[in-house]
């Protein structure tokens, strides 16, 4: 051991977090998501080695290569169970999962529901572009009816997933929605999601300028759309506060998901519910208390003794 005092931890900077230059197409919405993520990490000063970025398969799932942190690029649709394994076995690290609408709502749709209801402590960012981009323009689970793709040349016929309804219904304890053109709001959403204890998920409308240009213009004021942010209750006992959204009210959150496109942005739902991590740790602590000071070998020996 060195006798010198340990050097103070280096301040985390955007430069330290920058890795390979993204392979995304110029103009892709995902660039802004990446920039917002860097900035929030810089603001929160999470220790560099404790940041873990995980993704499945898709354009947006290339994310881990563009963040200089511990990372893993997994198989299609299974980013959340993989992230669950990290979160539950390594409570000392911060787990971030990234993916697109195909990864999250189609091939991985079941995992999203279960990770959410179990309230696994991690943050999940879904970059929704309503098209399969990496495989070059097939219908995605959020493509609207009528969208012309290579798999629906005359226009999509299947009713799309309503992402916010699925997320709120899934039991996620933090559900937010934002737009890749609204960087400040995106950062706010990310920060709240990261600080939330439990499963936090943010849907980002992130345009694919190649296969679905203009998909989210209706939510972008610069393109003539409207970016309407949910007014949350401040509990100031004023008359106008009554009309604002109570983020802990499940029915109100579900009602928000029914609004016609583009709908509202911001925090749909946020509740304090014990995470699976906390509940499992209690099960571990209780089990440890029962075995007292016994070593691993003693515990296994006791099991053998039961077999005599």
């Amino acid at each position: 051991m060195s006798t010198a005092a340990p050097a103070p931890p280096e301040k985390l900077t955007k430069k330290m977090l920058t890795a390979d230059h993204p392979t995304w197409c110029p103009g892709c919405g995902d660039f802004a998501v990446l920039a917002a993520f860097y900035k929030v990490l810089e603001k929160l000063q999470i220790p560099h080695e404790k940041i873990v970025t995980i993704a499945g398969i898709g354009c947006s799932s290339r994310f881990p290569y563009f963040v200089n942190s511990h990372g893993l690029h997994f198989i299609h649709g299974r980013a959340l169970p993989l992230a669950t394994g990290i979160s539950l076995s390594r409570p000392d690290v911060h787990v971030f999962a990234f993916g697109g609408d195909g990864d999250g709502f189609s091939i991985g749709g079941n995992h999203l529901d279960h990770c959410a209801r179990k309230n696994v402590n991690l943050t999940y960012v879904i970059m929704d572009n309503s098209v399969y981009g990496l495989t070059k323009m097939q219908t995605s689970p959020t493509s609207p009816i009528g969208y012309k793709s290579k798999t629906d040349p005359t226009g999509a016929i299947d009713q799309p997933v309503n992402p916010m309804r699925k997320l709120v219904a899934s039991g996620a304890s933090f559900v937010g929605r934002t737009h890749a053109t609204q960087v400040k709001h995106m950062m706010e959403m990310f920060e709240r999601a990261i600080k939330h204890q439990g499963f936090s998920v943010v849907e980002v409308l992130s345009e694919c300028v190649i296969f679905y240009p203009g998909a989210f213009d209706s939510g972008n004021p610069r393109k003539g759309g409207e970016f309407e942010i949910i007014q949350e209750r401040s509990w100031d006992e004023t008359a106008e506060d009554e009309a604002r959204h109570d983020v802990t009210d499940f029915s109100a959150a579900m009602k928000l998901t029914e609004e016609s496109y583009p709908g509202k942005f911001g925090t749909y739902y946020e509740v304090d519910r014990p995470s699976k991590n906390v509940l499992e740790q209690k099960w571990i602590d209780d089990s440890r208390a029962k075995v007292g000071s016994a070593s691993d070998k003693d515990i296994l020996q006791a099991r053998f003794n039961q077999m005599k």
Binding site: M16, A19, H48, E49, K50, V52, P64, Y65, N68, S69, H70, G71, L72, H73, F74, I75, G77, R78, P81, L82, A83, T84, G85, I86, S87, L88, S89, R90, D92, V93, N110, H111, D113, H114, E280, W283, I284, D286, S287, R288, K290, V291, D296, K297, I299, L300, Q301, R303, F304, M307, K308
Partner: protein, 601 residues
């Protein structure tokens, strides 16, 4: 059943009481709710405590409750290698038990039946029939309760008397099992037991069937089933994290790990499906832990994509497959060894994987240790192919010495310097799990894309060939460190019997019998199936033929799965194949007949 003076029940009257049996096979046939598994377990544990050997065999209906069920116990004072071909004693609880199992009784065997339920064909002179009003006597013993309970304990008492088993030790085992429940449970159990014990059956049998004391002295012995021993092996190997999804006959491993791991500060997670289970386990592996997932055949199929990822990313993982009859739902509660090809080759891409198979219940412990050692050293997924027979049968064996075998669970997140390179072309894989400071400032991304030595994705043609070879050469290196297999029995001669997994005991017993009849035969049981241990060809060359016995189909070209692999590997026409797909293990006589068939072919 063999005795020191080669007598049998039919000539029991001529035998003196000092002639103790060397071994006996007892088949209990009833319904699954009769608790025959419970008393079978008691008998097996008693054998472990009295230095006798034991092997059990049971069938479980795949229905939720009810249905015919059997439990067969083979107890011996010497080595017991198989559950026994034919029963010496059959206990028939019902008419269907009698009808379905009377032909599993050997000629001269004893059929004990419940006169309240069974009407046997008493003119069948092959057997000795002993009728006992089991139901009514049990009800009387329990004080007139009409409940259909306690018959199992009555039978246990009866068998204890017939075979002169150690009543005190057995009572202690029963006490431990039922003592935690309401006191009436233990009281009723012992009332029924005593009624059976004191039932005057000795006069009907007109002989003494006591089993000779065990010959295995001076060692601590335990009795349990294969799934429990795999669980213990994983715990000893330092596995502290895992995930799974329920499927018969794997579930009891995940149930045990779910309860046990928290005591060690670890955790087992139930996933929403098989894909989630393997992915959660890989997340734990990436996090720096030795993790486990498992399933049975259909579930393994679902995990396959992730297993190829584990090969590509070079993550360590133990994967258990407790095989059952397939394909699809198949025979979910029967034994089969038809997942060997799936274990080695199932999944996309060139994805070499280590595959191991335990040969009996005791070996489940050591195979788990071996899986842990290999997964750690080579950073690879290791598949353990157990099967339904090993998973559920109880054996008694020497308790593993934990001072020798306990492996400490470690998590290494110490800083890595600038030279850190996870996939060196000329060295072993070394990951830096999350939480590890990288002194060079550059953090690793683990990926399923082909990558260079640092883990950077690349599609360089030359590098893909090099990295593919690198992944394969880890298994080549493993093969080189494995001990060459010793041949059991004759080292050279007529036929070498080759098996894997649960065929171990029956093959050995068959070899013993054939050698006793003057045949020159030997046996090899392969525990490392991929890679195979080196040097097998030297053993093959010393025999006129090599007979591979396995519980799977002979396939389009007449060779079972291991036989196909061995023929491909060694191009040796001496390698022949005997297969069976009845959902049951090989009987000794079927193995001997198989060898005869190949000789006469």
């Amino acid at each position: 059943m063999t005795t020191a003076s080669a007598t049998s029940p039919s000539d029991a009257s001529t035998r003196s009481p000092s002639d103790k049996l060397q071994d006996a096979v007892i088949r209990l046939a009833g319904n699954s709710q009769d608790g025959i598994q419970t008393i079978g377990g008691f008998l097996a544990r008693l054998a472990g405590r009295t230095a006798q050997e034991v092997m059990t065999y049971m069938t479980i209906p795949s229905t939720i409750s009810g249905g015919p069920s059997i439990f067969q116990v083979h107890i011996g004072s010497g080595e017991v290698l198989s559950p026994g071909d034919d029963a010496d004693f059959l206990v028939a609880f019902y008419q269907h038990s009698y009808e379905n199992h009377i032909n599993s009784l050997r000629e001269g065997g004893v059929c004990i039946y419940d006169t309240d339920e069974v009407e046997p064909d008493l003119t069948d002179k092959r057997f000795t029939f002993i009728g006992i009003p089991i139901s009514t006597t049990t009800i009387e013993a329990l004080g007139g309760s009409a409940r259909d309970r306690g018959k199992n304990m009555f039978i246990l008492g009866l068998l204890t008397n017939v075979f002169d088993l150690n009543r005190e030790k057995l009572a202690a085992i029963i006490d431990r099992q039922f003592g935690k429940k309401h006191e009436s449970v233990l009281r009723n159990a012992m009332l029924a037991f005593d009624a059976g014990y004191s039932y005057p059956i000795g006069e009907s049998l007109n002989g003494d069937y006591g089993i000779a004391p065990g010959r295995i002295e001076g060692e601590h012995r335990i009795a349990t089933d294969g799934n429990q021993m795999l669980t213990c092996g994983l715990l000893a190997a330092g596995v502290r994290y895992g995930a799974g999804y329920p499927i018969t006959p794997w579930s009891s491993i995940m149930e045990s790990l779910r309860s046990e791991l928290p005591k060690y500060g670890g955790l087992f997670v139930q996933g929403e499906d098989e894909l989630a289970a393997v992915s959660i386990a890989l997340g734990m592996a990436y996090s720096g832990h030795l993790a486990v997932t498992g399933s049975s055949g259909p579930g393994l199929s679902l995990k396959m994509e992730a297993l190829s990822y584990a090969v590509m990313a070079e993550l360590p993982l133990i994967v258990i497959n407790v095989q059952r009859g397939g394909p699809s739902t198949g025979l979910p509660t029967s034994v089969e060894q038809s997942d060997l090809m799936q274990a080695i080759y199932g999944s996309h891409g060139d994805a070499p994987r280590v595959v191991l198979a335990p040969q009996d219940v005791e070996d489940c412990f050591y195979i788990a240790l071996e899986a842990g050692r290999i997964a750690r050293k080579y950073s690879v997924p290791v598949i353990i192919l157990s099967d339904q027979a090993i998973s559920s049968r109880i054996e008694a064996f020497a308790e593993p010495n934990l001072d020798e075998f306990m492996v400490e669970a470690e998590l290494d997140i110490s800083p890595r310097d600038e030279s850190f390179k996870p996939y060196p072309l000329d060295g072993l894989t070394r990951h830096a799990p999350p939480g590890t400071p990288l002194e060079g400032g550059k953090y690793p991304v683990v990926t399923g894309l082909e990558h260079d030595e640092w883990g950077h994705p690349t599609a360089n043609p030359e590098l893909h060939q090099k990295m593919t070879a690198r992944r394969r050469n880890k298994l080549v290196a493993l093969a080189e460190e494995l001990d060459e297999l010793e041949v059991y029995g004759d080292a050279e001669g007529d036929t070498l019997l080759v098996g894997w997994g649960s065929t171990y005991g029956p093959i050995r017993e068959a070899v013993d019998r054939m050698r006793a009849n003057g045949q020159k035969v030997g046996a090899i049981q392969i525990r490392h199936l991929n890679p195979l241990p080196n040097g097998l060809e030297k053993s093959f060359a010393k025999f006129s033929r090599v007979a591979v016995f396995e519980l799977n189909d002979a396939g389009l070209y007449g060779y079972g799965q291991l036989a196909t692999l061995l023929r491909a590997r060694y191009c040796d026409p001496r390698i022949q194949s005997i297969t069976k797909t009845e959902g049951l293990g090989f009987k000794i006589r079927e193995i001997i007949a198989g060898v005869e068939k190949l000789k006469n072919a």
